[in-house]
Symmetry: C2
Subunit: 431 residues, 2 copies
């Protein structure tokens, strides 16, 4: 028993330290709440402003990130918890896309998607490499990285623009979705090749094909497995007395397939897409006549998942804006301008070429080509990898950031305008 | 231009390092997905098992945490992102409670709530202190901490049990909710006093009253401010063309009031409760005749927020289970047993006393008293503070953990059983 007066100093010091720790933990929660709040609000406000100016809402969300991030105000860093929530956001968005995808149509438009993806992959790679190597006299590795960055397609931005315009389920929308998925797969293979090349100096075709075989297997088996799990969820939904089964079990399913995708070497968001495909109303197993799709179950999933998807997806697009640090660009350097503008032209032409050879109406071909142009977060990952590994100098990196920003900002406007002016020529056009 | 063969070693080393960084970032995302998935699934599975054994589902979720955490499997640590998501979970749960609260009834039962809260605060504090100081001959500060820990009421667990039994909107449910909120406020004041006492050795009554005035002001003004903001949301919902306004804006509102609560020194979850109160169907401003409540708006909020609430709240209860490290207890020490069991009795009796003096039916009095017993996460915060500041020895801390575990585990069962056996005697009893 120690009366009040002779409380030793150590005790009070350590309890003060402990309280500081506790306060710091509380401050962490506190700051996180404030940041999340600012992100959600800013995303909404900028989306509403974008809408007033006839721009797609995703543009507003990207701008919110640019304004809040290091480019302008510097309030929020693109790190930590927010980044993880953004990842959930993009995976849930791809889940929603999968949910709205008609598998039969996806297979029917598969060849067109493949043409667009392959053309939009090979042509920008060659043009970007050539521009760097011969045009600007850069090293082999740097030129390969420039080419690699130009192959990227931001599946998130592309798909979001289509959804905002309600065109993701029509023919050209499905070609674009399919092509964006294929492009992401090709991107993973390229990243694996560039990695091998930059550390070993050579390329092992066997390894590359192994990655491809893994991915192909995943894409055939994942929707079937997800479908079987969804039957389990449906079964338990009928017998459980505890509310809230669909939100937790469907989010778990999506997280599981994202995790599984990563395990086989694919981008996590493709796991979300596979899970969405399996739960869509129009998904049929090749031999599974017994697994009839229940439209009311699909509707319940859609209505209960949409608030969660609405909550998380804007975080992702704000995050892309936050990651785009325009302060790093030295705007007075003439090299930056010639380099980035010529690269920008190459970035556009490269993605358009594949689409122009399609057997579609001209408007559709141009829309499809333009939809593949945004590099967004995928391009940023490539460029960032080049920078941190010191393959790209700061100046070249800044040029790449400009190109990524331009390719991300201009297509949403162009697509919206094209649909407005020429959309009535398309067969699926809804009045 | 540097051909392949003479690629310098530094380049490949730094690119390898960069790739390791990138891989680590990806692993972080990857692990987070896996942990979140395990938490969501385990919470559900254990809740279903609990339901089979006639136990409330929150018990299952707590057990899931105990099994996954350091007590048993040690798969998941109660830290980082999961902790922040759990915080969102408990705030959203309190928001839901606020949403279902009838303000008029809350005011009408206010005196009873105050009696229960004050009794359940003062009595356990005195008994706990006396047991430590005179019963076990512990120091003044240690005894104060023991008393302080026993004052806690886990508003989350109490309220969740009532919701699981659909009794949170009836008379005794409202008394309990009101008392739990008041207890949380008193707990903050006590923590502030203990803090001052442990660092300065004295108590400043002026500071304590300042905290109380702040909290009272917050509780009067916050729901009114939240109500005005909700009118804004309703207005924008009518004019916006962009889907998903309710999820993002309501979550933002809740986060804002949680942040504001923290700014005035109140627990964040009370901010969520205030926001919920303001948006409830039965909230009326004292002078705001013009602000008519729109039942369909309240319904839209409920239907769109419930999947989000269902998703986040189990994370919180799993987190409480994760934080309860039963490995720290030396089960063979006789002191542990006498100390924790006598403290457990004091913890039960202390909370029952206040309720027994209420002017209610006997069943209601006992249910109200028992509902205040769970110490849960609030008790853990107190005990943890005592441990890290080295005021509590490991042995005493372990004893406290046992008491907290027992008080958290037994009331849900007791309440469920009491409602089953004697619930028909209560006026609000629904067949």
């Amino acid at each position: 028993m120690r009366p009040l007066g002779i409380l030793p100093i150590e005790d009070s010091e350590s309890s003060q330290r402990a309280l500081i720790n506790l306060v710091e933990a509380a401050v962490e929660v506190h700051t996180f709440f404030l940041h999340l709040l600012i992100i959600l609000l800013a995303a909404r406000i900028f989306a509403e402003i974008a809408e007033r100016f006839q721009a797609p809402r995703v543009m507003g969300e990207l701008c919110a990130g640019v304004v809040l991030g290091p480019s302008l105000l510097g309030w929020i860093e693109p790190t930590g918890v927010i980044k993880l929530l953004a990842e959930i956001g993009i995976i849930l968005l791809l889940f929603e896309v999968g949910l709205g995808t008609d598998v039969k149509r996806l297979v029917r438009t598969g060849l067109s998607s493949f043409l667009v993806a392959a053309g939009g992959f090979v042509v920008p790679f060659i043009l970007g490499f050539a521009l760097g190597y011969w045009g600007f006299g850069l090293s082999l590795l740097v030129s390969l990285f420039i080419g690699g960055t130009l192959t990227a397609t931001s599946i998130g931005i592309t798909v979001r623009v289509l959804m905002d315009l309600k065109r993701h389920q029509v023919r050209e929308g499905q070609i674009i979705v399919g092509a964006a998925v294929l492009d992401d797969i090709l991107g993973v293979v390229l990243l694996a090749l560039l990695y091998e090349f930059s550390i070993g100096g050579g390329i092992n075709v066997l390894n590359a094909s192994k990655v491809l075989v893994f991915l192909a297997t995943f894409f055939v088996l994942a929707p079937i497995a997800a479908k079987l799990i969804s039957q389990l969820i449906k079964h338990f939904e009928q017998i459980t007395t505890i509310a809230g089964l669909i939100p937790t079990s469907v989010v778990s399913l999506v997280l599981f397939f994202a995790w599984l995708a990563h395990e086989v070497g694919a981008p996590e968001l493709l796991g979300g897409f596979a899970a969405g495909l399996a739960l869509s109303r129009r998904f049929f197993l090749p031999f599974g006549v017994a697994l009839h799709n229940d439209p009311t179950f699909a509707e319940r999933i859609e209505s209960q998942m949409s608030p969660i998807i609405f909550l998380f997806t804007p975080i992702f697009f704000v995050m892309v804006g936050l990651s785009l640090n325009l302060q790093e660009v030295n705007w007075s350097s003439p090299f930056i301008w010639t380099f980035s503008l010529s690269l920008f032209l190459v970035a556009i032409v490269g993605k358009l070429v594949g689409a122009l050879f399609l057997n579609e109406q001209w408007v559709a071909r141009i829309i499809i080509g333009i939809a593949m142009i945004p590099r967004g977060e995928v391009g940023l990952i490539f460029a960032e990898l080049g920078r941190v590994s010191e393959i790209l100098t700061n100046e070249i990196y800044a040029g790449m950031v400009i190109v990524i920003a331009l390719t991300t900002i201009f297509p949403p406007f162009a697509i919206k305008w094209l649909y407005g002016a020429y959309g009535h020529q398309l067969p699926d056009h809804a009045k």
